[in-house]
């Protein structure tokens, strides 16, 4: 019975809930808590899967009235499968982290060499790099030695206040180590077997992290300059409209919308979402797993 419930919970969390949460609009008003909720959903899904693997053999052998040797073999098999699941997740995380680091290190090396230092002495941060090129482009390279990179085009199309807004946005990604969050979701995505995996959590969390950075930039530099910067960086990319429907168009619209004056962050929503995140992680353990452990430890043949 416990195995069935855990299985149902795991399937709901990995197949049903992500679709609903990804299409919801309330996370726009409580992005940080929504990221926590996504993390909790993902982690609880993994724990439920491991729970099924551990509990199901016990329940099946008991229902079938198998003897001690069969039950012991089932337990060993269950532990092996659970270890395999955890190992797969860890290997995926290791791979994603290593590849990201290598890519960033190479990227950092190149922007350091290409930097037009003379163009940004007065703009501030030490780790700012400016590249040639009229294509307006702004991004950051996270890591222990982070960089914020602007193209020369950004300096041409944005005024000082708008540039400060962009810098504040990028600094937030770096300071809050957003890349670690993205890496963990990427690692999870890659560890899940093909037919079950979904990009929804990955994409939703990415957008939420952008919103968190927008909120910080808005506090530092004002909503107006940030909004203008977002619009200009978007509009100024030539040929963009020739492209098949831009996958980020919807995301951009949502980010711009929440920078309108009427849009405010909601403390109540944040509290509810954060409580949901904690509850999701704690409650299944308390309601399902603990009573089962209690019974299993009494009856277990070892």
């Amino acid at each position: 019975m416990t195995a069935l419930l855990l299985g149902a919970l795991g399937l709901t969390l990995s197949l049903v809930v992500p679709g609903i949460l990804a299409n919801a609009h309330w996370p726009d008003r409580a992005p940080a808590a929504a990221v926590a909720l996504w993390q909790s959903i993902t982690l609880t899904g993994v724990l439920a899967a491991i729970g099924v693997v551990l509990v199901a053999p016990y329940e099946l052998t008991r229902a079938a009235g198998s003897g001690k040797p069969v039950a012991s073999a089932a337990l060993i098999g269950a532990l092996a499968v659970a270890a395999l699941i955890i190992l797969r997740l860890l290997i995926s995380l290791y791979g994603v982290t290593r590849r990201s680091r290598a890519r960033r290190a190479r990227h950092r090396l190149l922007v350091d060499l290409l930097d037009r230092a003379e163009q940004h002495r007065e703009l501030g941060p030490d780790h700012l790099r400016v590249l040639d090129g009229a294509l307006p482009l702004a991004y950051c390279v996270p890591g222990r030695e982070p960089r914020v990179v602007l193209s020369h085009g950004v300096l041409q199309v944005l005024d000082r206040a708008q540039i400060d807004a962009v810098l504040a946005h990028e600094q937030t990604h770096l300071r809050h180590r957003h890349e670690v969050v993205m890496e963990s979701f990427t690692a999870f995505y890659r560890a899940v077997p093909g037919p079950l995996r979904s990009r929804k959590p990955l994409e939703a969390v990415h957008l939420l992290l952008e919103m968190i950075a927008d909120d910080a930039a808005r506090r530092r530099a004002g909503a107006g300059p940030l909004r203008a910067a977002l619009e200009r960086l978007t509009d100024a990319i030539p040929l963009a409209e020739d492209v098949k429907p831009d996958p980020a168009g919807e995301a951009r619209r949502r980010r711009l919308e929440r920078l309108a004056a009427s849009h405010t962050r909601s403390v109540a929503l944040s509290t509810v979402a954060a409580a949901g995140a904690v509850g999701l992680l704690v409650l299944p353990t308390v309601i399902l797993v603990l009573p089962w452990l209690d019974r299993a430890l009494d009856a277990w043949p070892l």
Binding site: A117, G153, E179, T186, Y189, V243
Partner: protein
């Protein structure tokens, strides 16, 4: 002077020269602005060669150094890398705006560079 700044200035000299330079030539060009040991320039060129951004060629019994890519090529490939998510979206970089499909971006960079 920080090593990073020195590497950048050596690269700038090589890019501006438009032809392979010997260590001596790079040293001469940099020495116009400041005092710099010949061996320092040699070390920096060696490091850049190890990183694969500079190529060492033997010509007339002297080693000459040239960038493996022009500044424009390297800039374009860096931007392309920044805007192109790898297949599995490795989360390596964070972007201010969303990503463009790579072929659109390549076209965009090309269009912008022609305009200049």
């Amino acid at each position: 002077m920080a090593l990073g700044d020195l590497e950048r200035e050596v690269m700038t000299q090589l890019w501006d020269a438009g032809e392979p330079l010997t260590v001596r030539q790079v040293h001469e060009r940099l020495s116009r602005q400041r005092d710099l040991a010949y061996t320092t320039v040699m070390t920096v060129l060696d490091r850049l060669a190890k990183k694969g951004v500079v190529q060492q060629q033997k010509a007339d019994r002297a080693y000459k150094y040239a960038p493996t890519q022009s500044r424009e090529e390297m800039t374009a490939s860096v931007m392309l890398d920044a805007l192109t998510a790898s297949d599995d979206q490795d989360a390596a970089l964070a972007y201010f705006v969303g990503q463009l499909p790579p072929e659109a971006l390549a076209a965009a960079i090309e269009a912008v560079q022609k305009k200049r």
